[in-house]
């Protein structure tokens, strides 16, 4: 019987259980996470470059940014959706990136578990907070000094 000299691609066959960190299969999660990084990354290039151009390059740049500037932008649903998409995609993209780094460098199961618990808690707080801010934002809060408010607010 001839011995095959074909060299298989790495990991093309079964991976011995001792080399996998988790016991059972996690389905397609890692592949979907890999795909999400590429798709969200592509969208984020457009969203963040647009964000930086409008906020830092146009007009007086960073000097124009104040409460009135933000209120003026979020009066338009276009920028609400833009910023909402940027918040969710950037946070999930960044969280998955840091998750990958934790998996790479934290060897102990307990260390990995706690680092990821802190990471996911921070992510949840920031995403929920940011989403609430975009949707509950009041451009003309009562009792605020009129000169700090956007020009479309009714006179007190």
């Amino acid at each position: 019987m001839a011995v095959s000299s074909e060299i298989q691609a790495p990991r093309s066959g079964r991976v011995a259980p001792k080399y996998t960190r988790h016991g059972s299969s996690r389905g397609n999660f890692e592949m979907l996470a890999w795909l999400f990084m590429r798709v969200s990354g592509l969208v984020l290039v457009v969203l963040i470059f647009g964000h930086l151009f409008v906020n830092l390059m146009v007009g007086e740049g960073v000097h124009a940014i104040d409460f009135g500037f933000v209120a003026g932008k979020w009066a338009d649903p276009f920028w609400q959706i833009w910023d909402l998409a940027m918040l969710w995609l950037a946070m999930l993209h960044g969280t998955n990136g840091v998750r990958t780094i934790i998996n790479d460098y934290a060897d102990k199961d307990g260390t990995r578990f706690w680092l990821k618990t802190v990471l996911y808690a921070a992510t949840a707080v920031i995403i929920v907070l940011g989403t609430l801010v975009i949707f509950t934002f009041d451009p003309c809060p009562p009792n605020a000094a009129a000169e700090l408010l956007p020009s479309f607010c009714p006179a007190p």
Partner: protein, 127 residues
């Protein structure tokens, strides 16, 4: 000096350094993003609170940090597009090193006009 043969290993060449750069910039951008959502959330506290905190972004020292942040974002963005090409374009793996020099070239092309505009605004007070 390393005794390993130069030019035949992944270690220490374009592939590794772009990977290191992608990780370092990615982590830096992520921590800024956490802070940036929190400072923007101050619009929900009061116009005064938001304006006071955002004013700290407008001094010349912060302008330099912002320039560093944008430099990190632009590298991460272009190198991310390079990674997509390496993964999905048939000739991507073959040209990964050349693609990195493309990333560096585009980075310079974007950063020069950005720095001129942003630092001019920052150091002249926007007037």
């Amino acid at each position: 000096m390393s005794k390993t043969p130069a030019g035949t290993l992944y270690r220490g060449r374009e592939g590794m350094w772009s990977w290191v750069g992608h990780r370092v910039t990615g982590v830096a951008i992520f921590f800024f993003l956490l802070v940036h959502v929190l400072d923007t959330a101050l619009v929900r506290v009061s116009p005064e609170a938001y304006n006071v905190v955002i004013a700290t972004y407008k001094n010349p020292f912060m302008a330099l940090l912002e320039a560093g942040l944008v430099a990190a974002i632009v590298f991460h963005a272009f190198n991310g597009l390079r990674i997509i090409l390496v993964d999905f374009w048939k000739k991507g793996p073959k040209y990964q090193a050349q693609l990195l020099w493309g990333v560096v070239g585009l980075w310079v092309l974007v950063m020069v006009p950005f720095l001129i505009r942003h630092l001019t605004l920052a150091f002249t007070g926007g007037h």
